[in-house]
């Protein structure tokens, strides 16, 4: 029993340590470290996860251009927790600036590159994945693209494009 208590205390202490580290990394905008620490928290210390942590992890995902996981991390935030207005604003921002796509092809070209760094990074990531894997599923900035020479218009919203849905 005592051993179990010690183990539980040790696990919590590790969660606290990781949370402190995470907060420091987020403050210093060290997004790769934020990403790595968040994954460790998810894997082993879920009780330490708060809305602020999900929010910072969402920002880390945006920095590397993964807008889908950024939105998913925002959706994880507790509706009775902190910073709800900020979280709702960011989700709305993603909803109005991006569209959900399911592209299969070999080459993706936007009509014009977005100005915002995270949106630009999202396009670059999608292009890289399409070239390497032949498909991309995720969120992309609204606008006109050419997929293997065919024009595709991406509308805003967290729903699949009408052309793909029966």
């Amino acid at each position: 029993m005592m051993l179990l208590c010690l183990f539980a205390w040790g696990a919590d202490a590790e969660g606290e340590r990781l949370t402190d580290e995470f907060t420091r990394y987020a403050k210093d905008r060290k997004w790769t470290a934020v990403e790595r620490t968040y994954r460790r928290l998810i894997a082993g210390h879920p009780d330490s996860l708060s809305n602020l942590i999900h929010h910072s992890a969402s920002q880390a995902a945006r920095q590397r251009g993964d807008l889908l996981i950024a939105a998913q991390r925002l959706l994880r935030c507790d509706p009775s927790g902190l910073a709800l207005d900020t979280i709702a604003d960011e989700l709305e921002n993603l909803r109005t600036q991006t569209g959900m796509v399911m592209f299969v092809g070999a080459e993706l070209k936007p009509a014009s590159m977005p100005f915002a760094p995270d949106l630009r990074q999202a396009v670059l990531q999608a292009q890289k994945q399409i070239t390497e894997q032949g498909y991309y599923v995720g969120l992309l900035p609204v606008g006109t693209y050419k997929l293997d020479g065919t024009q595709v218009d991406i509308d805003a919203g967290f729903r699949w494009h009408d052309a793909w849905v029966e």
Partner: protein, 220 residues
């Protein structure tokens, strides 16, 4: 008439799916595992008469995740969450999910793992989405497809049986003719006469039923 009867026997209401999903979600909020089980079964049954939208399919898999969560089967819960994410990766969560932190965690882990796809050569509509991408998540048993397959198999089986019966009738007729050539009495040939007619009528009946099942399986 036969087609109408068959079609009515297999009929269901497309809105059954939406109703069953809503019932299941309400049952989850009350931790009522039996009601979630029943709603999952009803929703799966309703698939036979409707092609679900991505949102409906995602909710259906989410219902499986709820069920697994209430049974504390976290591996199945995570697998169901991933299937739900493949259908719709940004389905808004329900508040009741935060009352079950372990299930919430399974959802988060499924999102972090993500869904991998393989590219098929054809563009098949999967759960209402036309795409050559096949997610590596657990497939949903479509009772609509299963029912069509069963009907088609039964139809083909009955047509084959009708062929067999007709073959029997033909053999009986050959025997009847042979008895005539051999000069047997009409009373002695009566048996073969009856067998020929019975098998012919039976083969026509069975062929009609088999054909009807085939038509229904194609039309549904």
């Amino acid at each position: 008439m036969l087609l109408l009867l068959l079609n009515n026997a297999l009929a269901c209401d497309p809105s059954d799916l939406v109703r069953a999903e809503k019932r299941g979600e309400e049952a989850f909020a009350q931790n009522d595992i039996d009601a979630v089980t029943q709603a999952s079964k009803d929703a799966a049954k309703a698939l036979r008469c409707t092609t679900p939208t991505p949102e409906q399919l995602a909710r259906l898999h989410r219902l499986s995740a709820y069920h697994a969560g209430l049974e504390r089967d976290w591996a199945t819960a995570e697998e169901s969450w991933r299937a739900s994410l493949a259908a719709h990766p940004l389905l808004p969560p329900e508040k009741a999910l935060w009352a079950n932190p372990r299930l919430h965690l399974a959802w988060a882990r499924a999102q972090e793992t993500g869904v991998q796809y393989s590219v098929s050569s054809s563009r098949q509509p999967i759960a209402g989405i036309r795409t050559p991408l096949i997610p590596n998540t657990k497939p949903l048993k479509s009772s609509k497809q299963g029912q069509k397959r069963t009907l088609r198999s039964a139809g083909v089986g009955l047509l084959a049986a009708a062929g067999g019966l007709y073959g029997g009738a033909w053999a009986a007729r050959v025997e009847y003719d042979r008895q005539g050539r051999d000069g047997e009495k009409a009373a002695d040939r009566r048996l073969m006469y009856n067998v020929t007619n019975s098998l012919s009528i039976a083969s026509a009946g069975v062929a009609t039923l088999g054909g009807a099942l085939l038509v229904v399986s194609i039309a549904r």
